[in-house]
Symmetry: D2
Subunit: 365 residues, 4 copies
Amino acid sequence: MSGNTLGHLFSVTNFGESHGPAIGCVIDGCPPGMSLCEADIQLELDRRRPGTSRHVTQRQEPDAVEILSGVYEGKTTGTPIALLIRNTDQRSKDYGNIAQSFRPGHADYSYWHKYGIRDPRGGGRSSARLTAPTVAAGAVARKWLFEQYGTVFRGCMTAVGSVEIPFESWDHVPHNPFFAPVADVQALEDYMDALRKAGDSCGARIRVTASNVPVGLGEPLYDRLDADIAHAMMGLNAVKGVEIGAGFDSVAQRGTTHGDSLTPEGFRSNNAGGILGGISTGQDIEVSLAIKPTSSIISPRDSIDVNGQPVEVVTKGRHDPCVGIRATPIAEALLALVLMDHALRHRAQCGDVRLAVPPIPASIG
Amino acid sequence: MSGNTLGHLFSVTNFGESHGPAIGCVIDGCPPGMSLCEADIQLELDRRRPGTSRHVTQRQEPDAVEILSGVYEGKTTGTPIALLIRNTDQRSKDYGNIAQSFRPGHADYSYWHKYGIRDPRGGGRSSARLTAPTVAAGAVARKWLFEQYGTVFRGCMTAVGSVEIPFESWDHVPHNPFFAPVADVQALEDYMDALRKAGDSCGARIRVTASNVPVGLGEPLYDRLDADIAHAMMGLNAVKGVEIGAGFDSVAQRGTTHGDSLTPEGFRSNNAGGILGGISTGQDIEVSLAIKPTSSIISPRDSIDVNGQPVEVVTKGRHDPCVGIRATPIAEALLALVLMDHALRHRAQCGDVRLAVPPIPASIG
Amino acid sequence: MSGNTLGHLFSVTNFGESHGPAIGCVIDGCPPGMSLCEADIQLELDRRRPGTSRHVTQRQEPDAVEILSGVYEGKTTGTPIALLIRNTDQRSKDYGNIAQSFRPGHADYSYWHKYGIRDPRGGGRSSARLTAPTVAAGAVARKWLFEQYGTVFRGCMTAVGSVEIPFESWDHVPHNPFFAPVADVQALEDYMDALRKAGDSCGARIRVTASNVPVGLGEPLYDRLDADIAHAMMGLNAVKGVEIGAGFDSVAQRGTTHGDSLTPEGFRSNNAGGILGGISTGQDIEVSLAIKPTSSIISPRDSIDVNGQPVEVVTKGRHDPCVGIRATPIAEALLALVLMDHALRHRAQCGDVRLAVPPIPASIG
Amino acid sequence: MSGNTLGHLFSVTNFGESHGPAIGCVIDGCPPGMSLCEADIQLELDRRRPGTSRHVTQRQEPDAVEILSGVYEGKTTGTPIALLIRNTDQRSKDYGNIAQSFRPGHADYSYWHKYGIRDPRGGGRSSARLTAPTVAAGAVARKWLFEQYGTVFRGCMTAVGSVEIPFESWDHVPHNPFFAPVADVQALEDYMDALRKAGDSCGARIRVTASNVPVGLGEPLYDRLDADIAHAMMGLNAVKGVEIGAGFDSVAQRGTTHGDSLTPEGFRSNNAGGILGGISTGQDIEVSLAIKPTSSIISPRDSIDVNGQPVEVVTKGRHDPCVGIRATPIAEALLALVLMDHALRHRAQCGDVRLAVPPIPASIG
């Protein structure tokens, strides 16, 4: 296991660099017999695509996916599904000036020390562009989980920079460029416009959730369901914090409050975020992510070059001023990939995967 | 990979139940030629041992470790190191009354649904007792990392329930039962005494850090160093949130502030928590954990039994009112295990493991 | 994955040295709810036990197994099953004279070069004693496969040194110390007695077979069922060759003869050995193994010491003059472990595991 | 780990079907900084290419490889290397007549039972065409091992059908279409011509060897070097037997003969095939393979269709009458991949990889 593979039984091996010829992934372990075509995957890729509003990078990438294998006459065959996305809008010259120095807060420094060589074009392997194959693979997992169990994944932004976003309704999420669950996003537009003018970037907080989750998913020690969710989410570019259920609010809670009491009709609350002892309960899985500000900014910063000499770094090129804005569909995909893998692991050991009976009431909105 | 193994190259396979005959682990992949004896491991086990203050479970377990293999004439041979800890103070009858019902907030419910069978004695496999083998394995990793690179691991409690604990000095940590970095723990004693009288439990926040960390550890996608730390930490009983570096504070930060600027003498700050792009920079690794309140409490709770009928659950037996109190040495061990695994992974691919030059200044505090 | 684990979903992690305090293994991934007690395992351990005839090592080891975890009230719980076997009859002084030199044909040389340190007592980790935990784990796999599918495993010796052993009946196998499928073993007794007097050792050939095998087990590329069988068998001490079905006889066969033709009642022959394209067909799995002569012999041999100086090596101590004699139950266990792992892998991806319909006629003999 | 990945640290994930749009692989874990271009890989692909003599399939495939990632300015970056080979000469209609029935000796039957669906075009995933990505990945491993240690891989055919091929010299191998180590291949030409006229196919035996092998590669239990070689080789289409060193000849050998004696100048013989106790000794690795006759033959055979009804099967299309003819470069590639993986595993645990001192004399020719 060499690092670029996510999952054990539904495993996704990711390849590519931001400005190389192509990016993609190989999905191994997909159950046979599921209908699958490129449009099923394109749908999710389009949700994270760059260039769709003024608040994200202006790089224009169609992100057209090609299925190279594993599907025959519109159905999965059980053999590896290779997905290919050609890069089309690389402007590598934009990055020439940072090839010999390190952007503060960027992977430049650590890649160079690890490998002694790095592809500086667009961040190379460290680019958020490499989340596209993850989203593509996630689309396959989502489809299977939905068809088998009715599992659905949703996500939204809950804060952008210092602006908290209240939850109004999932219905609003597709209708604004922020994945914000509110009807009026003027405050967010204004905040982002001011930020862009200042040549700065900001962080974000994202919430993702899964409903209609089978009960019993997760290995109790060490590969707990929450542990693998944390692994997947913290493995996403720029994520600095992960919470399940009540998260850091648990610290100040008491046991009498935190522990979700049960009734014959289901749980009364969901501080657990749908996971107890590392195993899914059937309640909604609830995850929250902290995403740091983009490190590629136009404001000048103090840094050093590869020879250790002081330099001032200014990053031109086309960057997301808030990488969190496009993170929602990616986090949904990651959650789907983790649940898919654990559904298959559970099926291997315990022979069936099923929803909880009596049905578990979903958490509130 | 069946769930109970942590790590790929320095891998720890954990076994046992709270009230079974024994618990333990097998460490595979330890480099040969390192001095190792039981006292090296016992030292760390004693730090997490139950029964050492009135604020933790009164179960008396010597937790005496026996090395069964992998060490010859006081040196590791490169073959698996099996560690055995016999359980001695099981009082299984304490748990008879909860065998047929589910404690709110406890793994009872999810285990029963996953496996169709569970060992209810002391929580069985879901007991925090199973962190002892993790600590034992961590002691081996710590020793190797210290001898090779001078890496040291420290941890402390930063909040217990609603009481925030300021950082005064690492020197205080060993001198109180809370791993608190303060000289005066009277407020914590009082808080815990009141809680115990109320028959309730509380959460906690823990901070762990590693210093003198080699540069270049971590696979950028998906097995990032921070992702694997999050996996290890969220895999610890009762953890509901994990932060690296600035964590959730990153959300409201701007790029000009968050990105740690570099000078020829090193980094000026450590919002990154020692990790950029999933790879260690050589700065201190900084991790923060949210730990939920213990679910086994004496206060009566509404729940259901295995037949779905309503019951009132009261948990007797001997429990930690705040599992966070003993979590510090465990979290240190987990951090050591993750760094050890990545040190070997890095050595495999890149051929050497080394500290950053120029030396990276440690973060403050 | 650090080398001492066999299997991915039903995984066995083996530990111990020949003359250390104990040997054993941890089985992870066993399905929950199966009846299991120590006697189920002891039965198979007794079949490979040393000291039971004059043709094998005279070391007396009861090989009493203790189940440390994973079983509650006589049933597997789905959590790791740790098995412990204490070593009782170590005579380490027997081996003092070979600690500084290398026995021709023995792992002494390669261990010393790999690790820079080795446990010379009884071969340390390279001892055939370490097959005991494999047999113990295999007993668990056999029980599950038999209860689920009626799968049975059998093995016999087909040649000892230059003496070919014809197949008469499986019924004879338990009634002689060679696992020979013949009524009269006088020729084998005489051959072994002469060999022992000559202070020499000999090779052997073993056949193992599985009947009532589910159809569809095996991943076509690279983890084919035959590939994983070859891995398991070649991983057994002293094995130098592995054949599936017609094996090396396939070289001179023609396609018209080799390809097993099918009829509505099943296959007409079994040159495939029950595996086509890396996937089980439901026919009997047929495996043949070549086992080399024991390298620890009393006859003097030319060798070198750790300083590269020439020495003459004579191995005293208690050794099997033909390690193949006790290999049959071990090879059966390995075959069971591989099928078990693939049964779970198949169940994960394809959702069910079943026997072929129409029933496949067993191969002859 | 889902079956289509070979190797743990230098891992190759293979995808594609014979008549799909493309085949390829992703190599993860390649050390950074090695020069690599497409020509380095094409060289080895051309050695296994179809259509190069009348004795192999007449399918014309340029097998032009494209490097999609992991190489920057001609050097490996340490990130995944994706290799793509487009299929160009598919004639899927050739296979229409066998979509509903099972060729004797072919994977048709087992795939259909495993997955409930199969891609019948050219054998789909079970086609020997899928060895091309393995060869491509092997070229990368060979280059690194050669540059680091001078390791070289060679292979030749030692029997085709009933014709034994004596070893004359490695020099002859590139000069005939059989990879035969003899100057005069007229007997082989005649044998193959007669076979083709008869509409039949035949088996073959192949030998592969590695020289200048580092000492100490291999995990003693269970992932021995010989075990992983056996896994890789038996995972190759049509292989039914694997031998290391003396192989099945070991059965009739005595310990005094089999054990390779040592002198200060090196080993006197190589019955071990370069591996003792599962670990490389530095001697040449010697492997022999039995390859079964091709199952796709023009002669009519009895079989059944997917409904269990009797049918007569005749396979038209373009097939190798002896798949063993093109197997030599594939087996070399597999040996290189296994050694590469174990070189990195050894480096992880033991910190260095080196050749034996004093130098080990190579085995005879």
